[in-house]
């Protein structure tokens, strides 16, 4: 008997197993990127809300207040593709507050929360970047492209963010 009859189905089975395994892997990576984005988004929303609170304390000079309010609203309404740019603008605007030591003294809770949020933001960003990179580089592999293992899952969006200015915020 020709041994092809044994090997062919066996190979086929192995290929099917490998493809399911690979699809599963990619699915998990997409899921990871979604989770990290959901977390990042939540923290960014909290930061925008806090920025508005600080701007509305009345103790901020009108020019700075206007700048922060505008940046916070733009960050909230930005499309996902423009999000990181808008958030960076908010970071820059918040940097202006660091010099206002007087304000810092009058509203310690607000600034303490800003510190906490910034710390969490740094971690959220690095985790998200990692998750997105992992999913993207896997999708680019030949076997994933040939067999369209990504299905209809959208390509995870990269989020560029200058870590340096965040560092300055927390001093």
């Amino acid at each position: 008997m020709n041994s092809t009859y044994i090997w062919l189905p066996l190979t086929l089975l192995l290929v099917i197993w490998y493809l399911t395994f690979s699809a599963n892997r990619l699915d998990r990576l997409h899921h990871r990127a979604e989770t990290s984005w959901a977390n990042l988004d939540a923290i960014l929303q909290r930061r925008a809300a806090l920025a508005l609170d600080i701007a509305h304390t009345g103790a901020v000079d009108p020019a700075t207040g206007l700048l922060i309010t505008t940046a916070a609203h733009q960050a909230r309404e930005a499309e996902i593709s423009e999000r990181s740019e808008a958030e960076s603008a908010l970071t820059q605007a918040l940097l202006l507050l660091i010099e206002e030591t007087d304000l810092n003294r009058r509203y310690p809770e607000l600034f303490k929360e800003l510190d906490t949020i910034t710390e969490r933001l740094k971690i959220a960003i690095s985790l998200h970047i990692e998750a997105v990179n992992a999913a993207r580089s896997r999708r680019q592999r030949l076997i994933y492209r040939i067999f369209r293992l990504a299905g209809h899952a959208p390509l995870p969006v990269k989020y560029a963010f200058e870590d340096d200015s965040l560092m300055e915020i927390t001093r």
């Binding site: 395994f21 599963n24 892997r25 998990r28 990576l29 990871r32 989770t35 990290s36 959901a38 977390n39 710390e119 969490r120 971690i123 959220a124 690095s126 985790l127 990692e130 998750a131 992992a134």
Partner: protein
């Protein structure tokens, strides 16, 4: 929050990773979280911590140049499945998941908010290219990775091409800062050393070679050495006239360690390599002891390039002697180092480290989600109906 920890190493054997997990679990329990630890154990009756679930007897395997007592295999896997299946954990925290161990098993079996901490530092290995493809599908399930130091992070980057958040190991600063010196040990010009001194990489030999030079300037110094063993071999190596300067204390427990550090004027860490973090330096800082340490990457990082302790050139005993001599002369600098060290050590306190790790948990976890078994395992269970979920 309900947190499950997996220890790769036997719970009834002392070790850095195990005590890290125990302290962290106790810290979170104190804050009102529910904790459970799954760990191998050679002897179940030795386990007194009520939050520990044992997974079986570990085997000793040579791994990465040392002997590791770890546990894996089908029986262990079924214990892991059972523990995860019935645990309803919000977050699963796996320690050292990149070595063949219970943590790696748990990582491959579980699905959900998985966090991994990488403790070890290892130089680049030739086998890395062979290991990486096997580990990658498992390790990429971790939603967040923590490295205990820049050195551990670098190891991870080289071996598995993945990045991590650096969060240091924790200590209880208060227990070191508030300890009182042992009057038996407390004498002027005490130099201290802690570690398994029979291992060459702990660097006791470098320190012993520096002793004659130190004795020429400070004839009254004493060297206290704590660690398992009587040090007969070390005694052979040194000049007979210096033997009465050495005192071997044997193995000491945590409370003794705190009062040991408090009894010192100077702590010397001459390790020649293989360190990933250097928890003893954090403990010495918290005790307010000035430090002289070798300039290996882990120590340079922990002491911020010499800001919180003096660094000497690794394996250079002449340089070590110079640093020790000048510090023993200079009470003022020692006092300053002591104060700044205690302040800096707050950075390693569990209150701070615990918050940072909790932060990572929150990032890995989606509200309402529980850690479960991965789909492959569910399928496996269904086909072979091995156990109920």
């Amino acid at each position: 929050m309900k947190i499950g920890f997996v220890s790769p190493y036997a719970w009834d054997v002392p070790g850095g990773v195990q005590s890290h997990i125990r302290d962290l679990a106790l810290h979170y329990r104190q804050l009102g979280h529910e904790v459970s630890v799954l760990a191998p154990a050679s002897d179940d009756s030795e386990i007194t911590d009520d939050f520990v679930v044992t997974a079986g007897r570990p085997v000793a395997i040579p791994y990465n140049g040392a002997v590791a007592r770890v546990l894996f295999g089908p029986v262990a896997a079924s214990r892991v499945r059972q523990w995860i299946g019935s645990g309803e954990f919000d977050v699963l925290h796996l320690h050292e998941p990149a070595i063949p161990s219970l943590s790696l098993l748990a990582c491959s079996i579980a699905e959900g908010a998985l966090v991994g901490t990488f403790h070890a530092a290892a130089p680049r290995q030739k086998v890395a290219f062979a290991i990486a493809p096997l580990l990658e599908p498992v390790i990429e399930k971790l939603r967040a990775r923590i490295a205990v130091s820049e050195v551990a992070r670098e190891t991870l980057r080289i071996h598995l091409e993945t990045d991590a958040v650096v969060i240091p190991n924790g200590i209880s600063v208060a227990s070191f800062a508030q300890a009182s010196p042992n009057p038996e040990w407390k004498k002027p010009l005490n130099i201290g050393f802690i570690g398994r001194f029979s291992e060459p990489r702990k660097g006791l030999d470098v320190l012993l070679e520096a002793l004659p030079n130190i004795a020429r300037v400070h004839p009254n110094f004493r060297l206290l050495i704590a660690g398992p063993g009587e040090g007969l071999e070390a005694m052979q190596k040194i000049n007979p006239s210096l033997r009465n300067r050495l005192l071997f204390l044997g193995r000491i427990n945590d409370a003794e360690k705190a009062s040991f550090l408090k009894s010192l004027d100077l702590y010397v860490a001459p390790n020649t390599g293989g360190e990933s973090f250097g928890i003893i330096l954090a403990e010495a800082l918290a005790s307010g002891v000035p430090i002289v340490a070798s300039d290996i990457p882990a120590f340079r990082y922990l002491l911020e390039e010499g800001r919180y302790g003096q660094l000497f050139e690794n394996e250079n005993s002449e340089d070590l002697a110079r640093k020790v001599i000048s510090l023993l002369k200079d009470q003022k600098t020692r006092d300053e180092m002591s104060i700044s060290g205690v302040n800096y050590s707050q950075r390693f306190d569990w209150s701070q480290v615990g918050d940072e790790i909790m932060n990572v948990y929150l990032h890995a976890h989606k509200p309402g989600e529980k850690v479960g078994l991965s789909s492959e395992n569910r399928l496996w269970n269904r086909i072979f109906s091995r156990e109920d979920e």
